[in-house]
């Protein structure tokens, strides 16, 4: 199966949520993405795997709109709109969420305060009514309970002194509150032991829905035991070289990147 031939379930273009077309992107003048193409339909879980330096993190930063990731050609459409012309905060308000590999610490800002600021900033960008303190607290309590996040954690400064597992659960909590259409998980498994990984994956699985898609970026197959993908793509040297179903990840685990990438080339 060639990557271009891979068409998502709905098949019609009106059902495509994210469409990346022959994308070339550079960081500090160095081309990292060299013709990346990918389609994601609502409700699907796609995994991108690849060796170090393949362009995995660049893909997630490029989609989220980080400064310094320059697209030189190609395009990205999100729900039919040109994604690349939007600022990062607008992309977020339009439904893109990036769960960070290394979530940032913001000293002195309580997790609650950060969450409320984010939820209301997005509501404002979308022209929706803002939540007052009482409405927000109700929402956050319900969501935290669903994801087994303690109220004590909500009061602590954002990610400061959090364990690796707590940081990632906090990312999932943010995802749950911000209700994105497309959630990108950037190496969510890094730095997690197996118990923490299970907990985080459990949270993610609770948020799966027919209208929400996931792009799971990972180096190891392990994560995909818990967040089971519909499609697996192998990214090498800035483009997708192989696509398949979840069995591709298992084969990759057995044979290693060199063998599979070599075959593709």
């Amino acid at each position: 199966m060639s990557p271009q031939a891979l068409i998502c379930n709905g098949s019609g273009p009106e059902n495509v949520m994210l469409e990346i077309e022959d994308l070339h992107a550079s960081v500090q003048g160095k081309e990292i993405l060299k013709g990346l193409s990918l389609k994601i339909c609502p409700g699907e879980v796609h995994a991108i795997m690849g060796p170090n330096g393949a362009g995995k993190s660049t893909t997630s930063y490029m989609l989220a709109g980080r400064d310094g990731y320059e697209v030189t050609s190609g395009q990205v459409r999100f729900n039919g709109e040109d994604l690349l012309s939007l600022k990062p905060e607008e992309r977020a308000a339009n439904g893109i969420f990036l769960a960070f590999q290394y979530p940032l610490e913001i000293p002195g800002v309580s997790t609650l305060n950060f969450l409320k600021t984010a939820v209301n900033a997005q509501a404002k960008l979308r022209g929706e009514p803002l939540l007052d303190a009482v409405q927000f607290m109700r929402l956050v309590r319900e969501t935290a309970k669903l994801l087994n996040v303690s109220e004590e954690m909500l009061k602590r400064p954002l990610n400061v002194g959090f364990s690796g597992g707590e940081k990632k659960r906090n990312e999932v909590l943010q995802m749950a509150l911000l209700k994105p259409a497309l959630a990108i998980l950037d190496e969510t498994d890094s730095g997690l032991d197996i118990d923490a990984l299970k907990l985080v994956a459990e949270g993610v699985n609770k948020l799966r829905s027919p209208s929400r898609s996931f792009l799971v970026i990972t180096h190891y197959q392990r994560l995909l035991d818990y967040i089971v993908p519909d499609y697996v793509h192998i990214l090498a040297d800035g483009r997708i070289v192989r696509s398949g179903d979840k069995s591709l990840a298992l084969r990759l685990e057995e044979q290693g990147y060199d063998a599979l990438i070599g075959k593709a080339a």
């Binding site: 989220a64 400064d67 990062p88 905060e89 992309r91 913001i106 800002v109 900033a121 400064p157």
Partner: protein
């Protein structure tokens, strides 16, 4: 990186949005400073002879002094003969008749700060009926204070009505000979606040310059004296989060606090004078001497300041810990943007046994601004068991600004424990992008991160003041992304 640097430059070059020039007709004293000017001021205020003598002796002293040059601030020499030292309050008929006549940009700032309409009128100098509200509020407060025995009035009134108290305490913390600017102030001070809280009285409300009638036009050489007698408590708020303007470039205030046995004074300041434009033109020079004397045992003085305005800030609110077991605190946020310069900090002079001091300083620098913390902790020989804890944190936005920390530590008692912690950090691109990726725009993100950085100090402010100060922190840094 190139793109970021460009955006940064564009944003930090942004204009101070709330600047404007007010044409004011005042009754000026003759230009320049001489014995005649000092006599003119004293006469205008109907002062007793002893006050005039005090002023004249300060003036004579001042003539022999030179401006201090040790601070890390740079400005062209000030021509002290090319300034006015007395201006009467502006006439009512010149004031705007309603808010419609007030600069809309200024009103926008008030909106952002969430200042109620009645206060907006007072702040922008609308001099009609609206002020009646404030006056009546102030009158009610005055009655409550009188009942408690608290004296709270303009210092000119105190000179006339409570001469014994003024003579006893004025200049007893900051002597007329103290420093160039304090001495200048002692000669020409225009007005200010006087507070006396009698023995055992807990002042029933936060005192604020805002509620002091005639407070609005005494900014240039303000003189404040606060005395908390044995076991008394008072919390005093100075300044205002709303942008404050003054046609006088030079400001040299003096504040003296006296805390007797077991007394406590909490003094909070928000300073938002005009900082000058994006090229560093104009703006207030703020040379302030503030000092508290923990004169009695078990007394406590706590300074909290939020300094966001002025082109130059030169200010070191200090504590003399004279009484045994007395406590001094200094909590500071100093924000500088564009070409602003701040050299600010504190002095903690430990004289008594088991005296304790705590210094928390948060400096934020953006644009091409220079921000210096300068602090002295001195433990005298007899200050057995003295303790100090100092924490100085600097935050840089962008790569063209500077942060400097200059701690002076002198200990003459081997039992003293002194701790000093200092950090310098930048708002990282990673932190900013993290916020952006959650839908939080750049300016809100900067405000959020900076408010987090300042949290320990903001917590010290009285509640309503803290909320306004948080908004002010955001507004002061608008367009200064790093």
């Amino acid at each position: 990186m190139g793109q970021e640097a460009e955006t940064l430059q564009e944003l930090t070059d942004q204009k101070y949005k709330y600047g404007f020039v007010t044409e004011i007709e005042s009754e000026f004293a003759p230009k320049g400073l001489s014995e005649d000017t000092v006599r003119f001021i004293s006469q205008k205020k109907d002062e007793p002879d002893w006050m005039l003598e005090k002023r004249l002796s300060a003036y004579r002293r001042w003539r022999t002094m030179t401006e201090p040059a040790w601070a890390r601030v740079h400005y062209p020499p000030i021509d002290f003969q090319d300034a006015y030292y007395y201006a009467a309050p502006k006439k009512k008929e010149d004031a705007p008749a309603s808010l419609d006549e007030v600069d809309p940009e200024l009103l926008q700032t008030y909106e952002k700060l969430g200042i109620p309409l009645s206060e907006q009128k007072m702040l922008s100098g609308v001099a009609v009926d609206a002020v009646f509200d404030s006056v009546s509020v102030a009158t009610t407060f005055k009655a409550t204070l009188e009942e408690a025995g608290v004296i709270f009035c303009p210092i000119s009134e105190a000179i006339a009505r409570h001469p014994a108290l003024v003579q006893k305490y004025l200049g007893s913390v900051v002597p007329d000979t103290d420093n160039f600017y304090a001495t200048l102030n002692s000669a020409v001070f225009s007005d200010g606040s006087f507070v006396y809280v009698p023995e055992g009285v807990r002042c029933p409300m936060e005192l604020s310059t805002y509620f002091r009638i005639n407070a609005s036009k005494t900014g240039q050489f303000e003189r404040t004296l606060i005395i908390a007698d044995r076991g008394a408590y008072v919390s005093y708020l100075e300044g205002c989060t709303a942008p404050m303007r003054d046609e006088n470039q030079l400001h040299a205030a003096v504040v003296e606090l006296v805390a007797m046995d077991g007394a406590e004074i909490k003094y909070s300041t928000v300073q938002n004078w005009y900082p000058g434009d994006e090229n560093g033109k104009g703006g207030i020079y703020n040379f302030v001497t503030k000092r508290g004397d923990c004169r009695g045992a078990n007394s406590k003085i706590s300074w909290t300041q939020v300094e966001t305005g002025s082109a130059i800030t030169w200010k070191y609110p200090s504590c003399i810990l004279r009484g045994d077991n007395s406590v001094g605190e200094f909590y500071s946020i100093a924000i500088t943007n564009n070409f602003q310069q701040a050299d600010t900090g504190t002095k903690m002079i430990h004289l008594g046994r088991n005296t304790r001091s705590r210094i928390i300083s948060k400096g934020i620098s953006a644009g091409r601004a220079q921000n210096t913390y300068r602090g002295l902790v001195r433990i005298h020989q007899k200050a057995e068991g003295a303790r100090n804890f100092t924490q100085c944190d600097s935050l840089l936005l962008g790569s063209r600004c500077g942060a400097h920390t200059v701690p002076y530590i002198e200990s003459r008692n081997p039992s003293a424990i002194i701790e000093h912690e200092a950090t310098t950090s930048k708002i990282s691109d990673d932190q900013l992008f993290y916020c952006l990726s959650r839908g939080i725009g750049t300016e809100e993100a900067v405000a959020l991160i900076v408010n987090g950085f300042c949290r320990e100090v903001l917590q010290q402010l009285p509640m309503e003041f803290a909320v306004e100060a948080q908004k002010l922190v955001g507004i002061s840094l608008e367009g200064s992304v790093g």
